[in-house]
């Protein structure tokens, strides 16, 4: 039991961090960023390159991931999403763009980093074994704690900083935000960069544990979609809740349903569909109009 909870918590922390970036971008620009998973993979490869190829410390790799992805996110917003949003009649059109970017990043990652699975050495060794009730390697604990710290600082940033407030305002009413003197273009770009940066950070964090490969992008996006659906799209608290709930469901499901074969995810999906049928806007989302 304790083990299931611990696993769920660890998974939840990393999931929540992934979902945060996605939901931030969604709330600011109403863009469902299909390329989120690829950004995560890119982040992982950046850290890998810095740590395993250049032999620099892990923290440098992590910072590099954050920086590279932030710049990438900013550029993508400025040169791709902004003009398309401005000119398209239906806002769903950005989905084609996002999917195109996802394919493009897949191609770039393959050319830059190759097709192989990559990993970096463990950052800490050893396994916490509490009486066989909780078994948790130290590096996982460290990553979990880091993820939670990042989530907390993100929340604080959004809640109390001037930039955070501006982004929240932007997400709720673009025009009104503009009238408050918020430079909407600039803050959209910052928001997108921040979202991409979060994706990159998770990639960098997880490369020490799961390693990274080209194939992780698409499924990661789908999972992130699941989380923000559970919690409510465009709502930060919802993304966090969604991440932890999915983490827990996975952890519990995999343990309880193991005996029945290949159905954990089927059950999770089915539950989700029933849940959404009852509560169409997710846990905390605003009703969709």
């Amino acid at each position: 039991m304790e083990q299931i909870l611990a696993n769920g918590l660890y998974l939840g922390a990393q999931y929540a961090l992934i979902a945060l970036g996605l939901t931030l971008i969604f709330s600011l620009m109403n863009v469902l960023n299909f390329a989120h998973g690829q950004m995560y993979v890119f982040g992982g490869f950046v850290t890998y390159t810095v740590v395993a190829q250049f032999g620099l410390p892990f923290i440098v790799g992590l910072l590099a991931s954050a920086a590279v992805l932030a710049v990438m996110g900013g550029l993508i917003e400025k040169f791709l999403f902004r003009p398309v949003i401005r000119r398209s009649k239906r806002e769903e059109s950005t989905m084609l763009l996002a999917a195109g970017i996802a394919f493009f990043l897949d191609a770039v990652i393959l050319l830059l980093f190759g097709e192989k699975q990559r990993g970096v050495p463990k950052i800490v060794n050893g396994v916490l074994n509490w009486d066989m009730r909780i078994i948790m390697p130290y590096d996982r604990i460290l990553i979990g704690v880091l993820a939670i710290t990042l989530i907390a600082s993100f929340i604080l940033f959004m809640q109390y900083s001037r930039t955070g407030r501006a982004m929240r305002a932007l997400a709720q009413d673009r025009m009104a935000a503009q009238l408050m003197g918020v430079d909407v273009d600039r803050y959209s770009m910052i928001g997108f960069a921040l979202g991409a940066m979060l994706a990159g950070l998770v990639g960098g964090l997880l490369v020490t544990i799961t390693g990274i490969n080209l194939g992780m992008g698409g499924p990661t996006s789908v999972k992130a979609f699941l989380m923000i659906m559970i919690g409510g799209a465009g709502v930060i608290s919802g993304a966090i809740a969604g991440g932890f709930i999915l983490g827990m469901m996975e952890s519990v499901g995999l343990t309880l349903l193991a005996a029945y074969g290949d159905i954990t995810y089927l059950v999770i999906f089915a539950t989700l569909m029933v849940f959404l049928a009852i509560r169409p806007q997710g846990l905390m989302g605003k009703p969709w109009g």
Partner: protein
């Protein structure tokens, strides 16, 4: 303080303003009245840069305003209460008000303005930490006016502050506008459908029709103008 010279504004191919010239002096309250679609809101949008004008000039304190980005214009001391309130629904009253002071960086000054806004609208103090979407329409309207005041503007633009508000609250809002202009020396440009109220609380009034100014003059005079009476005021209340 603010002047429009021959301003034209288009939405796609439809014109909304066709050679509009208006003026507003320091400390004045000017009302814009007119039928639906006359172009009143468009004037405000042109000032704040939400819409680009096609030709003409807009000057503010001697400087050219048109062509500058909205954020920049707000910084120069113009605050607007848009049509339909546009609160930030998921933010607290406090954060909504603080957003109003977004362009300011003087911490102490902001606190001081906040205090004065809360004193002016005591209801907002009661609801300080409540989420804005749960406020009543009238409370929301007060909050957005307060939010505009947080920028410590020299010019306040109000777009139909009485829209959808119960009569009693409309009275409160009208009093607040008068008080703001009187106490803080803020110039006010007021767009209103409630022409009687607009004429009563403004110094001067422009009447618009299909993108053009058709009548203008001191409000007190226009109040008795037969054309205005017929078109905007109706006979009796």
């Amino acid at each position: 303080m603010l002047s429009f010279e021959n301003v034209e504004l288009y939405y796609d191919h439809v014109y909304a303003l066709k050679g509009v010239s208006i003026e507003l002096m320091e400390g004045e309250t000017v009302a814009l009245i007119g039928a639906n679609g006359a172009g009143k809101s468009s004037i405000l949008r042109a000032i704040t840069g939400l819409r680009k004008i096609k030709s003409g000039r807009i000057t503010y304190l001697g400087e050219r305003l048109d062509g500058r980005p909205a954020a920049d214009i707000v910084r120069s001391g113009i605050a607007m209460v848009p049509e339909g309130r546009r609160v930030f629904p998921l933010m607290s009253v406090k954060d909504n008000l603080l957003m109003g002071a977004f362009t300011r960086t003087d911490k102490a000054g902001i606190d001081q303005t906040l205090e004065s806004v809360l004193t002016r609208f005591p209801r907002l103090r009661e609801r300080f930490n409540q989420q804005a979407s749960t406020l009543s329409g009238g409370e929301q309207q007060m909050m957005v006016i307060g939010r505009a005041l947080m920028a410590k503007p020299r010019l306040l633009l109000l777009d139909e502050p009485s829209l959808g508000i119960a009569p009693k609250l409309v009275q409160d809002i009208a009093r607040a506008i008068v008080a703001i202009s009187r106490d803080e020396g803020v110039s006010v440009l007021l767009v209103e459908q409630n022409s009687r109220m607009a004429l009563s609380i403004s110094n001067r009034t422009y009447a618009l029709s299909t993108g053009q100014v058709v009548l203008s003059g001191p409000s007190a005079d226009l109040m008795h103008d037969e054309r205005i009476k017929a078109a905007y005021l109706g006979g009796e209340l």
